[in-house]
Amino acid sequence: MSETLIKARDLSVGFKIGSGFFGKSILKAVDHVDIDIEKGSFFGLVGESGSGKTTLGRALLKAVPITGGSAHYTDGEVDYDLTTLAGPELKDYRKRAQLIFQDPYAALSPRMTVRDIIAEPLEVMGLTKTREETDARVRQIAAKCRLNLEHLRRFPHAFSGGQRQRISIARALVSGPKFVVADESVAALDVSIQADVLNLLKELQRDLKITFLFISHDLSVVAHTCDHLAVMYLGRLVESAPTREVFKAPRHPYTKALFSAIPSLDPDDRGRAQKLEGEIPSPTNQPSGCKFHTRCPFAIDICKKDEPKLEHPGDGHEVACHRWRELADTLAA
């Protein structure tokens, strides 16, 4: 029943940094990640700054070079190997995979009208032949994104943050993509507007059958919108499961700590949370063994030596932790 749209195995992205006297060093932003994104799903990717979530999203869009492992895109019409994709096939992939940016103030050109902003991808990709056809496509997607059609002639400065984000969503969707990466797309919005944009994305997922990779640092937003949740730490995938499963019984101590760190809305629930010590280590100087052991309250000797593999216990709830079985009850509590 369920088909996999994106399938990545051992996917790595490394950046060369500083070519000094002792040769080059490599910063591993994404480190041997396995990921399966099902067709039509709303896939959430969370992690703190420096965890590699943005780089992973861009690698799947082929916006940064993949330096190791494999990644495939299969939508029923085409089957692309993302590691070797080039030429006309890459151009075709650009129509099928799109990105929505974080900051709607920086993403829109102030010198173009809303109509031109939304129409640009169609013209660049040569998807429409006449101006009438372009206009029709623009109007159609603008209406879907709940934009007032009379506003198409205006410039972006006239719009508020929520409206601007709807414009950038329309621009991303106008080429009819099947796969959309939304990178922190509601982080810059006010709370009262954020809910509106989230509801819109969900609606578009249903109506247009789009698969979303939703990258966010905000677990409560992810919990409400995503069917599946993957957690990253220092370039590694540490846990991946259906959202409800993760919330009911997180298997990785890091996931648990992330949940506990969300400030509770209950003023009487102060300071009960399990707090994480320290900060995420620098990616150029990564800890040995399990990357999380420097901050993990449950770390033992083996965690410092051996890096845990992502386990697939068969119930769809994957985790990379040496002690997840014995910690199950503690973490679920």
Binding site: S160, Q163, S192, N199, A261, L265, G271, L276
Partner: protein, 331 residues
């Protein structure tokens, strides 16, 4: 409890090319010693402008309303902040009795001067300490806010510290002059959740230890619930509701506060739909008449909301709300 600072009828407008823009509109509140007040609101609600006014820090094009008053109670008697003119007098509120922590610690530290030199400089400016004393106190404060190896950090630059560390250094610097009031403007917004939790804990400890008043500005109601004693909710420059944090969060009276709470994703009920507050925040140049919230209010009564400004109603002695729904109900 004695009031530490009293703000009365504060109105601030900015002269711009497009005309006068109202940022703060007839705002009154007071903070006691050792009290944490949360100031919540969305972009454009005038939170930061209000806070800056307490230190008389707003830009030159700011126009204060004639009835605006800010009274700071010091050991030497009350000081009217808005009447202070000379740079020497202003020192009382800028770094003396009041300190401020900003959202972006990277932008608030000078990049080419060590953290330590910046701390020493401001201590020597605000006290009679010798350089050696100021140095010792700075290292002690760095240690107090949980920075490991404080003596080494003292001689480092801002770029050498991580985000969480920088924010701790900023807090250490702000409290080293022993201010009576600390203004924290979105101090955790740029931080990761796990680091945010650490900084919130630190600030709670500091209130207990130094017994200062804090104004905590944020758009995050969760952060407010975890830190504040009382909370004021702002919309388009006006305080629409103010009360003890438990009351306002559990029993919100203003439709805007209710809307904000409903728009928040809740972790204990994943099936609950997200309910946005309808519409967009109006441009500051198109300030709605009557109640400023009426263009988005789901409970609008009728013409009265469009034409008449609701005045404050005490729903109980500590909880006030400015909404016609509550003015109509006899007390």
């Amino acid at each position: 409890m004695t009031a530490l600072i009293e703000v009365k009828n504060l109105t601030i407008q900015f002269r711009t090319d497009e005309g006068l823009v109202t940022a703060v509109d007839d705002v009154s509140f007071s903070i006691d010693k050792g009290q944490v007040m949360g100031l919540v609101g969305e972009s454009g609600s005038g939170k930061s402008v209000t806070a800056k006014a307490l230190m008389h820090l707003n830009a030159k094009n700011a126009v204060y309303g004639p009835k605006s008053q800010i009274i700071l109670h010091t050991a030497n008697g009350p000081v009217e902040v808005l009447k202070l003119k000379s740079a020497r007098d202003l020192k009382i509120v800028r770094g003396g009795a009041i300190s401020m922590i900003f959202q972006e610690p990277m932008a608030s530290f000078a990049p080419a001067i060590t953290i330590g030199d910046q701390m020493v400089e401001q201590l020597m400016l605000h006290s009679n300490m010798s350089k050696a004393q100021a140095r010792d106190l700075s290292v002690e404060m760095l240690d107090r806010v949980g920075i490991s190896d404080p003596a080494r950090r003292f001689s480092q630059y801002a770029f050498e510290l991580s985000g969480g560390m920088r924010q701790r250094a900023m807090i250490a610097m702000a409290i080293s002059t022993k201010p009576k009031l600390l203004i924290a403007d979105e101090p955790t917004t740029a931080l990761d959740v796990t680091i945010q939790a650490q900084v919130i804990d630190l600030m709670k400890d500091l209130v207990r230890e130094f017994h200062m008043g804090i104004i905590f500005i944020t758009h995050d109601l969760g952060v407010i619930a975890q830190t504040a004693d009382k909370v004021a909710v702002k919309y388009l420059g006006r305080i629409v509701e103010e009360g003890p944090v438990r009351e306002v969060i559990r029993n919100p009276k203003h439709p805007y506060t209710q809307g904000l709470l409903a728009a928040l994703p809740k972790l204990d009920d994943l099936d609950a739909p997200l309910t946005p507050v309808a519409g967009d925040i109006p441009s500051p140049l198109e300030r709605p008449s009557g109640c400023v919230f009426h263009t988005r209010c789901p409970k609008i009564i009728g013409d009265v909301c469009k034409s008449k400004l609701p005045h404050d109603t005490q729903v109980d002695p500590t909880h006030r709300v400015a909404c016609h729904l509550h003015t109509e109900v006899p007390a």
